[in-house]
């Protein structure tokens, strides 16, 4: 079942790339998707299917809107820092803790941290994330965790866990 879903996703990507439903194109897409699934199916992340449950999907939509708002904020933040003559930065690497357990949720968390204002994910060790922060506003690990991680963690917990 899981493999069949992966196969369908690959086939949809193929159809989007070729933009044709001629049987020859579909046949080639079928063979390519099947080969990719047979060779690489084991390394696909688990738990993707869960996202399509209605309640989780609703939170995924909420998360996407939230995420795009933060991406736009991040861009104005960078523009402000870069175009300012005095270059108002106070960079450093801080260590924050996460409650998320599944790989998928952690991947999304790390990518979200990288694309949101002033933070860049450097490494993941156990439950801790090392985050490069362009403008450090506090030295307390708890407060840093609150500022960087919590806003996404609440939503990601509802989607993936």
């Amino acid at each position: 079942m899981k493999r069949f879903l992966h196969f369908l996703i690959l086939l949809v990507v193929w159809v989007m790339l070729t933009w044709s439903v001629h049987w020859q194109d579909l046949l080639v897409g079928f063979v390519v998707a099947l080969l990719a699934e047979i060779m690489l199916g084991d390394i696909f992340p688990t738990g993707v299917v869960k996202v399509f449950y209605p309640r989780r999907f609703f939170w995924l939509v909420v998360y996407s809107v939230d995420f795009f708002w933060y991406v736009i904020l991040a861009n104005f933040d960078v523009a402000y820092r870069v175009l300012n003559i005095y270059l108002p930065i106070r960079p450093g690497i801080v260590k924050v803790r996460t409650r998320l357990k599944t790989d998928m949720a952690r991947t999304f968390l790390a990518n979200s941290i990288t694309l949101t204002p002033g933070t860049l994910c450097v490494d993941f060790v156990g439950d801790h994330i090392y985050v490069h922060w362009i403008n450090i506003t506090s030295e307390d690990p708890e407060e840093e965790t609150e500022l960087i991680v919590r806003k996404f963690e609440k939503l990601l917990e509802r989607i993936f866990e």
Binding site: I93, C121, H132
Partner: protein
């Protein structure tokens, strides 16, 4: 109508890309530069691709543009993370004006030999 929306998105996208490139030159070290490169260039590129969608309407070109947006959003932060980690592990220090470096404190002496 959709052409003017496309044009607006194109202008804003290029503006963000330019800011990202200025950031690449102005900011002091590799980690700060990566910040500017990932954030601005990701949104700028996505907006340019979105403007392509508005310009051409639904068709073969816009479907490829939508796929490209998805791949850029997935791969750009992952690439930045890999570069930052590799830079730190091969011994590149933070800018001297940096405030703290918890990663170096926790990983003293574990850098990969170059």
């Amino acid at each position: 109508m959709s052409e003017s929306i496309g044009l607006g998105l194109l202008i804003v996208g290029i503006a963000f890309d330019v800011v990202g490139c200025i950031g690449l030159v102005r900011l002091p070290d590799i980690y700060n530069r990566l910040q500017a490169a990932t954030k601005c260039v990701t949104l700028g590129t996505c907006m340019i691709l979105l403007s392509v969608v508005f310009y051409t309407g639904i068709g073969p070109i816009s479907s490829k543009a939508v796929l490209c947006i998805w791949f850029v959003l997935l791969t750009s932060p992952t690439g930045a993370h890999a570069i930052a980690r590799a830079a730190h592990r091969s011994g590149i220090r933070l800018w001297e004006g940096s405030f703290m470096d918890k990663y170096a404190e926790d990983h003293e002496g574990t850098e990969d030999k170059v």
